[in-house]
Structures are given as C-alpha cells and as structure tokens.
Symmetry: C2
Subunit: 385 residues, 2 copies
C-alpha cells in the first residue's frame, strides 16, 4: 500500500498508531514517545500525509523561548476513510459505519430468522449496502469491513472454527464476506475486537496492560500485556468464564464444574432464578424485574453471580496485574444488581496491592460490539504499511 | 560501559541476548532473527568482541553454493566473566558462582541461626568471600552479585519491601550488600529470578510466552508474555497461590479463603496431615513418609493439594495461554505424590485447546534458586549496554 513498504513499515505503523490513539501530537513528542529520530518521524509521516490520513494542524504554541520553529502537531483526518463493523449474533446483525477515529457515523440492525451461514451472509451483504448507500455517501471512501463473532476465530485465515451460539463449524467467513461485499474483510473474536477498541480508543489508551471483562450469555475477557493483545500460544486466552472458583459448584457446559460462567452467565442466572421462583419459563428480564422488586432469593442469585465475576477478576489481577480492568457487556444492563457484589468479590480475593487495580463497571450498548469490529479493520489498515 | 552507549544500546543488548540464549549463531541468522541490517549486527557485535564477551568461531559451513563468505558464528565466551548468585531463605544462604552462560562452577551453603538482616548480611559477606577466594580463582573476573529473596521486592531500588518468611520490612538489601561485598548487586523476587533463568537458559528458551510454577512453602508463578517477564502494573503478578478455587475452602493467611496455597502450600499439607494422622508434631517429611507407605488419609491430602495446584495452573492456561508451563520447587521432592493429581486437576479444568499446553513437572534442586539469582545479574550486565 505504501511506497517502499518493506523499508519504512515499522516506523510508519508506529507513527500512524500513535497519532491515531494519542494525537494530535507534535513530531518532537512523537520522536520522544517512539524512540525514533525526528528525521525518521518526518519520513514516516510523509506518506501518511500524502495519502490523506494525517494532516498538519496550524502551529499553536512554541515549546519555549528560543525553541526554534513552532511545533505543528500531526492529527488524524477522521473522514479520510470509513470502516464498516458488524457484530454477528445468533438472532441479529448489528452494523455501524465508523470514521478513522472509530467514531460511529451511522448504525443499523437486522433480525436474523436463522443463524445458518448462507442466510447470515446474504443478510450481511444487504446490511452493508444499506449502511454504505444511505445518507452520508460513505461508499466511495470505504474499503474495509470488520466482522466480530463469538467463539473460536482465526483472524489470520478469517475462519470461524467454532461458534457455539451461532452453531458454526469451520465457516470461511472472510472469504465469503469478501465475495459478497467486495470489501477487504477482517474477522475477529468479539471480545478481542472490543478489547482492541477499548485499548486504542477507550479506557485502555496508553495503558501498558489492560483487561476487558464482558458479562452476558458468556463471561469473556480480553487482555493486553506489554501493549499487545494476548492471544494464547494454543489459541486460548482470556477464558475468565472457565476459571473454577467452586469445587462443589454447578456443572459447566465446558465439562468442568464451578466455573465463573456456570454461576454468572445469563443462562446460569435464569436457571437459578427459575428454580428459586418456581417459574419454569422465567426470562433474564423477569429475573431482573423480580430482583429489583426485592425478591430475596433472586437477589441472592445476582449476588452470587457478581461474587463469581469478582472472583474471576481477582484471578486476572493476581496473575497478570493489569493497570486497569473494565467490566462491561449486555449483562450489565442489570448493572445495579451486580456491581456491589463484583467489587466486594474482587476486593475479598485480590492479593495485596492487586486490590489497587481500578475497576470500571459499566453497561455496554450493543452497537459497541460492532464498533469493536470496525476497529479491527482500522487496525488492519494501520498495519498494512 | 560500552562506548557510545546511548546510540548502540538497543542493538547491542539484542545481539548480546540472542547470542547468549540461542548462540552460537551467525551474523546472517542474527540479522534475520532480530530484524536488523547485517551492518547493524556487525556494529553491535564489535564492542562485545572487544570486551571479550563474544568470540567468532571458526567458519564451519557455507550456507549454500555461491553464498559468499563462509559464516563465522558468534558465540559466548563463557569464562569471560563470573557471577555470584545467592538465595536467601529464613534458615540458610545458598550461593553459587556461575559463568556467563549460567553454568554453575561452584556452590556453598551457610546455615543461618537467625534471619535478622544484620546477621544475614555478615554471613553473606563471608559466603561470597568463600566462593570467590576458593579454588577456581573467580575473584578477578567477578563484578556482580545477584540476590534472590521471597516476597515483595523492588528490583529497581534493591529494596526488600516485605518478605514474610524472613520477616523483613523495608531492608535496603542492594545498598547494604554492595557495601559489604564491593560487588554490583541485583535484588529480585526468587520466583521471578528462577523464571528469568528458565526463560534464558532452560525450558523457556525461544518461547514467546511461558510460565514457571513453584511449589513449596508458598505456591508462586513467574509469567513471561511477549518475551518479557510480567511484573504487574500494581506490583503484583503471578500470585497463583492466591487464586480462590473453593468458596468453602480453608482460610488463607492472605485474608481470603480457599486459595491454592491454603490447600497446597507445605504448611497447609502439614496442618491437614497432622489432623488426619492425629500426630500434632508431624513434619512435611513425615507426611511424605506416611503417604508413601499408603496412609489413605494422608494420600488424600496430597491428592487434594495436587488437584488445587492443577486448578491454579488451569487458570494460568485459560487466561494467559502460555506456550508451556514448568512446575517445580522444593515441594516437588514429593513429586510422585503430587504429579498425577496436578495433571488430572489441570486437564479437568483446562478450556478447549488450553489442555494442549505442555506441563513439565519436576523437582528443583535448591541450588537452582541461587543460579536464578546469578542469572538476574547476568541480565543486568547484558542490559547495561
């Protein structure tokens, strides 16, 4: 993509990333920040300016008396390119168009009657067309589509190896989505995509290490250590939902027992709330309703779930020691029922100074998942140098 | 230490590290491995050759017909410098002299009647003199001493903030040890020191990620992710001993309950074995003896401990996904009693492909801790460029 890509790539990518996540920033500050010479920064920035991704802002301040030329900070041109992001769930596609700064410009949903791969891909093509051809005229400046799927995903090949909620096995999602949309497609696990978004554009910016815990049907975790997403040498990492915290706990679908997810996943909460309310068709929303109206037994179900999530988070803090932890996910729409128990469960088990790790606990609009998917395609652009 | 240290340091350190851990290795292979130009490798290697740390081996093979000059691999001169390593325990100092390749040349022990810091430092001075002035004549080529201590240690300042086994609070160990020995001293947590040794010179060589779990009085863990030791943004990491695996488990000295260490630490095993044998003064060695003679209840104590260690290891594999895990420590002198239960406990809780992570379970001679301490001082030499 860039001229002389082989020779300049690492510095170009480093400059692009730093301006994107921390800009506007002067060349001098970039050189210091990236441990590069100012000549190397200038050389790396040039193709990015020529291609329209970066611009030089007007000089605003001198760095001190006699400090030479005023600094002209480099900034991202947010509307130089747009990115589609789609989160694929078992019953819905959620799509957004983001600009280069990962700001959502437009969004759209599509119900999925069935999660069969053929049907999903047809609907995906239509959703992308709706997003790009609607108001905003994004089509001309959009080349990339990011897809986020729960489960075991290979971002290198774009293969969805196994997605339990979708019941997909070995779906060549990237290849098929590229054929249907004509866009360059990235495929990533949904929790990892969200972690990348949070690391580049959210609470994780500038953090050397960082964890995002998602609470919903599953309990997931994305980890950034040494500035990089941990993906696991054997393809497994961040499986906070399958840390065993109770040797006598309930059986888990993974084959073990007493896992965090077997106590705190949405399905586990519904199961326990049905038992203690005696209502066999009660939903998650019903359980929330009961708890908010003071049903002691159902409150206790949420308390146990929050404690289990806190135990999982303490394991992350005790083992990896991230600078901060964000707890989010659609399950946290019932934020008020979980939050104090998550904090107490964490504090009780955090070892020594691990208890100092700040927790942000907040609900997550479902569109954020789609924005996460778009962020992965932004990252692919940045790495393409 | 090196001329023009500021300009060449990163490449010099990278070349030194690669030759040390993976050499002998040709300049061409080094350039490829480190993503450097061959000119940069040659430039970085020169001061290391001049200082006597590296040597050029005789050319042994051509890389192919017409491949130009035969490659002369770079190798470490193991006896160019020696390093003292000392592990400080509550009742003993264990010291070694290692060469630059971390091979132990000589070792010595000293009983400590008391673990009072003044006494320990006096004994340390004598132990170092014994090691350096004995046969081998290491004194002239030794400038560095590495110390390893359990507990909360700040390697930057050389302060032992808190060591529970030694009952030390805020001991300025580096400063005091430098005054007594005249050597340049590094201070590191013992588990981290051992992890560095395993990563540079043991089973962790070449692994991008790697975990070392130590079993003894405490249950510890050192983690390497992205090629770097994880130290935790809040100073806590690798606390596998304080992962809670049983909500109804025994109280732990950390204030929580059901921690791995509260079930599987040497103290916990002795406590449980005393209870079920009815022998209030039974020792760890007695417990091992009883189990090996088939005492069913005491065997069950070891089985439960092994299962708890396996649960902790599964948490590491599920969260971080290291390429391999080594389980070691003085507790594994009773290897035969633990091993099958560690493996079964791990397999039962490892999520999906996390179960593919190879476990090496082996006892650890106590001298290895001292070698780990020496390795930290080798690393300090390498980083000093």
């Amino acid at each position: 993509m860039f001229p002389e890509a082989d020779a300049v790539a690492p510095a170009v990518t480093a400059v692009f990333t730093a301006v994107l996540t921390e800009g506007p920033i002067s060349r001098v500050a970039l050189a210091r920040r990236l441990d590069l010479s100012s000549g190397a920064v200038t050389k790396a920035a040039r193709p990015l300016i020529d291609l329209g991704y970066l611009e030089e802002l007007a000089a605003t301040e001198r760095t001190g008396p006699g400090a030479g030329r005023p600094a002209s900070p480099l900034a991202i041109r947010a509307d130089s390119e747009f990115f589609v992001g789609v989160k694929i769930t078992a019953d819905e596609l959620i799509g957004v168009v983001c600009d280069l700064r990962a700001q959502v410009r437009v969004s759209a949903h599509r119900r999925l009657p069935v999660a069969d791969a053929d049907q999903v891909l047809t609907q995906l093509g239509e959703l992308v067309d709706d997003l790009l051809d609607g108001p905003g005229d994004y089509r001309a400046r959009t080349r990339r589509l990011g897809l986020a799927v729960s489960g075991d995903v290979d971002p290198i090949t774009g293969l969805v190896r196994y997605s339990p909620f979708l019941r997909w096995h070995d779906v060549a999602l990237r290849e098929r989505a590229e054929k249907i949309t004509g866009l360059a497609v990235t495929v990533e696990n949904d929790v990892k995509a969200l972690t990348i978004a949070e690391h580049w554009f959210g609470e994780g910016v500038g953090a050397e290490s960082f964890a995002l815990v998602t609470v919903g049907a599953g309990i997931g975790c994305g980890l950034v250590v040494g500035g990089r997403l941990v993906s696991g040498a054997h393809g497994v990492a961040g499986e906070i939902g399958h840390i065993g915290i109770d040797v006598d706990g309930p059986d888990c679908h993974c084959g073990s027992r007493g896992c965090v997810e077997a106590i705190a996943g949405a399905g586990a909460i519904v199961r326990q709330a049905r038992l203690c309310s005696g209502r066999p068709s009660l939903t998650f929303e019903d359980a929330v309703e009961l708890a908010r109206h003071g049903d002691v037994a159902v409150c206790e179900v949420f308390a146990r779930a929050g404690d289990a999530i806190g135990a999982g988070i303490a394991a992350v803090a005790n083992l990896v020691g991230p600078a901060r932890i964000v707890v989010s996910g659609e399950g946290l729409a019932a934020y008020d029922l979980f939050e104090p128990h998550i904090r107490a469960g964490f504090q009780r088990r955090a070892f020594g100074a691990a208890a100092d790790c700040p927790l942000s606990i907040r609900p997550l609009p479902f569109e954020e998942w789609a924005r996460g998917a778009a962020t992965v395609s932004i990252k692919a652009l940045v790495a393409a140098g």
